[in-house]
């Protein structure tokens, strides 16, 4: 039986309080595991777990603080996150000497794109990067005059801007949904479910893979990923979305089930796609920015795929705003 938000007679703020409390409860469980596990099984690769958990505390504190601060704080935080991710991408991506100034210009897509979130003009946001940056960047690169490796460079740069700026920006855009359109827990609830489901999927995949993993799923790209991990993550995340989705979002019925069934594979796809890029470049992590996790992009890979999908499904099934 599904939990019905209305029958719980909680006010919207209370849903978020319980949501954050649950996240912190999981953090405490994880941190305890990080403290206890290495004492029982020394040298089993738990050394990083402590660092990982400390980083999780920082990440979750920052995100929770931004969500409480409303859309301006959330936009600011994710603009910074976009910048860090894009910086990592542009630093690793094959580029030509002549593209140095183009790289400088590419960073300007961040303030412009997030500016459209600030003035809340959805249509501008929607077309700015996929259409106009897509056209303007190659033109500017043509003006520089280096035609060798031209198409490869334009494609590389656009891929980075789409994933790191455009797709991540949908999170900020979600925060502009007015209260009446998401009465369950406000805009914060929408973003909360996306983040919890995406990161939860990563964790569930990791845990079920570690426990039951036998059959490799894409060994050429990501040798540690297994069918068991993928399916386990899918099942558990879908169940979680169906259970808690109605508490935090207006999703119900077909919409709820569509999000529950499509979000986990999208997260998996993001993970695998970035793994392919990292393998192509020849690095394991995109940087060492987050202790125990690797780079910002390593943490963000699945989110770059889930956030646009989640936004569009939410917009189609349940939001009047978009």
């Amino acid at each position: 039986m599904l939990i019905d938000a209305h029958s719980l007679s909680l006010n919207p703020a209370a849903h978020m309080v319980w949501g954050f409390a649950a996240v912190f409860a999981f953090l405490i469980v994880g941190t305890s595991a990080a403290v206890i596990l290495p004492r029982f099984k020394a040298g089993e690769g738990f050394a990083d777990l402590g660092k990982r958990m400390v980083s999780w505390w920082v990440i979750i504190a920052l995100v929770a603080g931004a969500l409480v601060g409303g859309w301006p704080a959330t936009s600011a935080l994710f603009a910074v996150v976009s910048f860090l991710a894009l910086r990592e991408f542009l630093s690793l991506a094959p580029a030509r000497q002549e593209d140095r100034l183009i790289i400088f210009l590419i960073y300007l897509t961040i303030p412009i794109s997030y500016f459209f979130v600030v003035i809340n003009i959805y249509m501008f946001y929607l077309v700015f990067i996929p259409v106009y940056v897509f056209l303007a960047l190659p033109f500017l690169m043509a003006c520089i005059g280096q035609t060798k490796g031209f198409l490869t460079s334009t494609a590389t740069f656009h891929w980075g801007v789409m994933t790191c700026v455009y797709n991540i920006g949908f999170i900020a855009l979600l925060m502009r949904v007015p209260r009446w359109d998401a009465p369950q827990a406000g805009a914060v609830g929408l973003v909360f479910l996306l983040l919890v489901a995406t990161e939860g999927n990563d964790v569930f995949q990791y845990l079920t893979g570690k426990l039951f993993g036998r059959h490799k799923i894409v060994p050429a790209v990501s040798p540690k990923k297994t069918w068991e991990g993928f399916l386990g993550g899918w099942l558990l995340t879908a169940a979680m979305i169906v259970l808690i989705g109605p508490l935090f979002t207006p999703l119900h019925g077909v919409g709820l089930w569509t999000v529950a069934l499509t979000l986990p594979p999208a997260g998996f796809a993001g993970d695998i796609t970035f793994s392919a890029i990292k393998r192509d470049i020849g690095v394991k992590d995109t940087s060492g920015f987050i202790p125990g996790h690797g780079g910002v992009l390593d943490r963000l890979d699945s989110l770059t795929f889930t956030s646009p999908l989640y936004f569009h499904l939410l917009a189609y099934f349940s939001l009047a705003t978009y």
């Binding site: 860090l84 630093s91 690793l92 094959p94 000497q97 400088f104 960073y107 490796g149 060492g288």
Partner: protein
Amino acid sequence: MTWLRFLLITAILRPAARFMLGADIVGQENLPKSGPAIVAANHNSHVDTLLLLSLFSPRALARVRPVAAADYFLANPAISWFSRNIIGIVPVDRAAAGSGVDVLGGAREALARGDILIIFPEGSRGVASQDMAPLKSGVARLIEACPEAPVTPVWIQGAGRVLPKGAHIPVPLTCCALAGPPIRWQGDRIAFMAELKAGLEALRAEAPPLKWRDTD
């Protein structure tokens, strides 16, 4: 002026380096915590010095002094003031080299006082994607005078793209510094320089790849 230097480096330079450059550090335990010591790094950009300054522990920072060319960094009063008081350079008069004047005198004195010197043995800035320039032996002559000082090789990856020689606009890109095990003076200049070069090359091989094509 030491408090201003400390404040600018810890409150502005360090966060800015972390944000704009990532400033990843591998082998931080190899960086000297007290002097006398020498840090010898490859050199492709002015960013190298700023990046290195941001990596030292606050306690070591007061002792850290980059060795830099007098003809470049003391050229005009504003840059000279900033170089001496904020960056804390030990000037070396490149033009006087070979004229019998002891150009390394200032650096040797700093080492004797217990400072941590940052030296770029390549001399001037090179191109990131190319081989290192032949290392100048000044660092060997310094360590000969102060044999107890450890020499830590540091490879800086990426700074040459942030602000290459001749460029004026820095572009934010991830930089990574790799510090190797310190090298000790064994009494032979040639062997010492060979060991330093090998140390730097070994760090370079470990560094994240630079996918930067030279098209000319």
